[in-house]
Amino acid sequence: MYGIGILKGLWVTLVHFVETYVEDLRWLGRKRYFSPEGVAHRRSKDAKGIFTVQYPEEKLPVPEEFRFIPFLIYEVDEEGNKHDRCTSCGICAKVCPPQCIWIVRTEDPVTKRPVPEPVEFYIDVDICMNCGYCAEYCPFDAIKMDHDYELASYDRHAEHIYNKEKLSKPVSYYADIRPANYTREEAVRAAEEAKKAEAAAARAAAAAPAAGGDQPAGD
């Protein structure tokens, strides 16, 4: 019969419509909206009824791998001094596809050797395409991708070129937003440190009998 197809289709929309209320009744007493478990349920495979997230009152939790605008990591020692992990090697600036990273490297005025901390570090966040290459290719785990995606501002010229101060965040922040990555990287770092210490110890042991010589042991 002509019209059956339309009726079947309307049945589907009717089911969707009714489900919304049934779903709300099922959640009576529990919070379906404005609660983490409510949001989690609405993006699960069993989601039915209203699907929308009431941004900005509700926000979707971002997964660990989510990436948005890089930041620089610094470590704080016992005396409270900040140390950049960045050695200003420039790999991030070289791999950056839209070329939005500017780094100023300095050299020691006496020895003329590069100082392993950048004097200036800029990222033009208007140009940044959030590809995550800088974080992926940084050999020192010094630059990582952030989770903060709310960076609208009124003046792009004044606010959208991030300098080193604005980019720097403590390592504890990184550990907070990416716990799995942090644990994995720290394990690798600890293993490398141990290896280095071992090598140093071995070298010291090897150097000890030859201590009388003029030349220090080297490789």
């Binding site: 079947k8 289709g9 997964p63 791999v95 500017w102 100023v104 590809c131 991708m145």
Partner: protein, 592 residues
Amino acid sequence: MSEQAPVQEAPASPPTELEKRFPGLVKHDERAGYEGHIVEIANLVEVATAIRDEMGYDFLSSVTAVDYYSEAPDAENFIEVVYHLYKSTGGGSLIYKVQVPRDNAVVPSLVPVYPGADFQEREAWDLYGVKFESHPDLRRILMWDGFQGHPMRKDWKEAYFEEEVKPFKNRWPEGQVYRIEDRNPFGKNVSYPAGFDPEGFQEIEDPNLYSSLERSAMEYVEDIDTEQVVVNLGPQHPSTHGVFRMAVRLDGETIVGLKPVMGYLHRNHEQIGERNTWIMNMPFTDRLDYLSSMSNNFGYALAVERLMGDKAAPPERAEYIRVLMAELTRISNHLWAIGFLLNDLGAFFTPALYAIEERELILDIFEATAGSRMMCNYFRFGGVARDLPEGILPKIKDLVQERLPRKVDELDLYLSQNELVRSRGEGVGVITPEDAIAFSASGPVLRASGVPYDIRRADPYSIYDRFKFDVAVRYHGDVYDRYMIRIDEIRQSLRIIQQVIKDMPGGEILNGKNPYQVRVPAGESYGRVESPKGELGFYIVSTGKANPHRYHVRAPSFINLTILEKMCVGQKIADVVVNLGSIDIVLGEVDR
């Protein structure tokens, strides 16, 4: 006649079928890393016709130009036009090329042999200045009329030109930040041809477009003596899926001519790609067809890996993850396409939102794996960027085994038998299989016309030969079949993903280290994948440097539009929007 390529006196390889057929006119391409044949310009049409008719290579996949240019005094500078052909019954490619001098680049047009060359030759004319003789409608296609120069030529510089190749030298080690537009403000960054007065310039309204429209409309035989009118649909129109314009010539309500006008989103993606290093292009490919970025990554990775050889062969697990992601992309893309096709039909947004709900759950998976919902940038040469996060596989499993099959059935029940959908879709925008092949249509558009050509089966790449799936095919070639075939393909993709999850091996996800500078040996390569929209190909030429010498994208949305006029002529104007919607274009890819 013209200058020839540096053909070395290498040990001659045995003559191929083509060389035997045309002795002396067709030479083997002897350059290291290159394949195919070099054809004399004078014989191009003859050879192309023979290849189509006698050897069965009826599908012209890609036409593009390469500028071999160097400022060195003794360099041989020429432009090469490259043709990639396939058989619509499956199998590998046949490549042939012609070479022309840069200052007099004239090549006979292949549109009479392969109508699908139409837009591609116009693109080569627009961007490279290769003049295709006897092309029926040789106008600029991506740039505007009156644009000076041909922007893909190696000696052309754009307005905010910084340096020839990336990485730019001023970023490190003394990178004082600036914005290029502050240094070089707008208005001071352009050069005008001699005698041009920018103040007194008045735009003439596309005379070439309208005269071309008139020419094509002449063929229509009018039965009632009425005046024909020209209507512009777009560029700002919700049904054009972006900034896209169709100049339509109407006789009453009947379409007698239609010319797509594109390029509003043109950013010279290929030029950007040739400035980039190899690895930098990966996130840029995301921005082509921004609804299916994983497939774009796949195509580019394949093309480069083909040149790099064994050292970039992806490990098992990476191959499985790649297929998993590509098929999830296909599902999410087709859901979007179906939803918006119904929008174009006038079922405003309810079907689209039902479809997008499911797409959203797929994007959640991409976000957890790749870090971004749409701009995934997940593939690397020789694998993928990172392993699947913990707990994602059970989630995908739930999705593809429980929710998505149920929801696809629901969508099917909801829409497929709807009398309005059927009456608006059946018999509308019919493409015959012969036309579909001749016009180089690919993907769902080709398969809905009864040509069961799916690259995953016809010319398998990655590990697609291991999975059981059917090539979805429908036979009417109308809008309704192009809608149905997308539902079929979602079901087949679900089948593939179920097998992938079952067999997913452990192990490495990347072959070797992930260096920030890759070495790609000199040569050319064409990597193509069955993207959700059709055949997505990447043609790359390497000279062994850190940047590609040529980076060409064979964009399925762009080439599928070639047949749009043919689909629409003779139909009512109300169907134009539906015809366009059934091709499923994304302007990021059309305009590049």
